[in-house]
Amino acid sequence: MKFAVLASGEGTVFESIALYAKRGVIRGADLVLLLTNKPASGAVGRAKALGVETAVVTTKRPDGTKKGKEEFEEEIIEVLRGYGVEFCFLAGWNKVLDLVVDEYPYRIMNTHPSLLPAFAGLYGLEVHRAVLERGCKVTGCTIHFVDKGVDTGPIVLQKAVEVSDDDTVESLAEKVKALERRLAPMAIQLYRDGRISLVERFGRLTARVDLSGGWLEEWKRRERELLGSQGEGE
């Protein structure tokens, strides 16, 4: 399976996915492309350092005028097709996609830095600010399939983390990122291994994830080889 990561920000989750892929923790799936809409983003630098090919598709034309949403998305699709991409992972991608979602139905996943459905529709640090302003004592992250809504698609994986009273927006972002860096590669492998099935129940699609038959133990073993003792947690 060939897959791409789409990122607009720092690219730390992308970096983790790339590392997992490069070191053979993710198996049977080739990370063929980092696609970004921000040529100056941290993700681009990280892709270069890791030897991952980069494509830049911005919302502006060379003459400085703004592209329409369709034009922007068609360009993305063209690039993805060119690389033979079969699956996309959005890791801090900040644009809502429609045509791309049509092109890759339930073949795009996103990571969102909260426990959905809480704090849907916010992006990046805004999420953690909202968590702190609401006084939540528990937050986390969610990996979900992308559908036409914003942060509404079937949930694949979630993980909780406690909010401490001395947490700041930045410290919370770090805690949650640490979770995302581990859950994102796992979700990609689950997809690659056909371990995720979509089930319609009460008019709503949900994702069922099958970790049985030693899958989880094997994943943890491979992850431990990469992370060493840090990976002992879970």
Binding site: L115, L116, P117, G135, K137, V138, T142
Partner: protein, 253 residues
């Protein structure tokens, strides 16, 4: 230390009420006493729990009455008892302006989801858990919060997460009611630990209210020492439950 008078409001099984009473009985929850159970349903499980533990019951049906009238009656009943903290644990009726303004920041409730997810008009625990499963959420939990005028949006005192594994979703496909029951059981086990902790935080003056500009939030002032001491004491409740010395969540099986 002065003992804080508590009244628990419950309409249903009363399993959280029982857990609070067991925590007090075992000396885990300290410097407070449960002065009364307030209920709107004479036949509910909570009333049986109150009888078992010798806790006075204040009962009056609320259905068909103006909420204000019922709440004024309750405030009168409570004022004579010296109740300083109201704890809503499976209370199945609206809470109105009269009660909230009289007990603002001295009235807490437990809810079987991680606020702000799955709040709103959902009232009964089963309905919350069903919505959680229909949504396909992989982590849920429970929240203890101060009841405010915007009922489900009050300051969060404490929360605890509960993972939903594949097994529950397998059950959900075959038998949704059984899955809801199982999830409720798992979350309740955490509720039985979380509510007494929130009460102790309040009683010990460890909850500070802060304005964030977007509303009021609750911040815990408990330090590591407090947390460790609490965990140590609560382990006594957990082992007493397992040994059957108190019924705990076994009451539910």
């Amino acid at each position: 230390m002065k003992s804080t008078g508590i009244a628990v409001m419950a309409s249903r099984r009363g399993s959280n009420f029982r857990s609070v009473l067991d925590h007090v009985k075992l000396g885990v929850l300290r410097d407070c006493e449960v002065l009364a159970l307030v209920t709107n349903r004479a036949e509910c499980g909570a009333v049986k729990v109150a009888r078992e533990y010798g806790v006075p019951v204040i009962h009056r049906p609320v259905e068909g009455l103006a909420l204000k009238e019922w709440e004024e009656w309750l405030v009168d009943e409570l004022s004579g008892l010296g109740v300083e903290l109201l704890v809503l644990a499976g209370w199945d009726w609206m809470v109105g302006w009269t009660l909230i303004s009289r007990f603002r920041w001295r009235m807490m409730a437990i809810h079987p989801s991680l606020h702000p997810s799955f709040t709103g008009t959902l009232m009964r625990a089963e309905e919350v858990h069903r919505a959680v499963l229909e949504h396909g959420v992989k982590v849920t939990g429970c929240t203890v919060y101060y009841v405010d005028f915007n009922v489900d949006a009050g300051p969060i005192i404490a929360q605890r997460a509960v993972e939903i594994d594949r097994e529950i979703y397998e059950i959900f496909l075959r038998d949704p009611d059984a899955a809801v029951f199982e999830l409720e059981r798992r979350v309740l086990r955490e509720e039985h630990l979380l509510l007494p902790k929130a009460i102790q935080l309040h009683v010990d003056g460890k909850v500070r209210l802060l304005e964030t500009g977007r509303g009021t939030i609750a911040v815990s002032l408990a330090d590591e020492e407090w947390e460790e001491e609490w965990a140590r004491r609560q382990s006594e409740y957990v082992s007493a439950t397992q040994l059957g010395r108190v019924r705990g969540d076994t009451a539910w099986r």
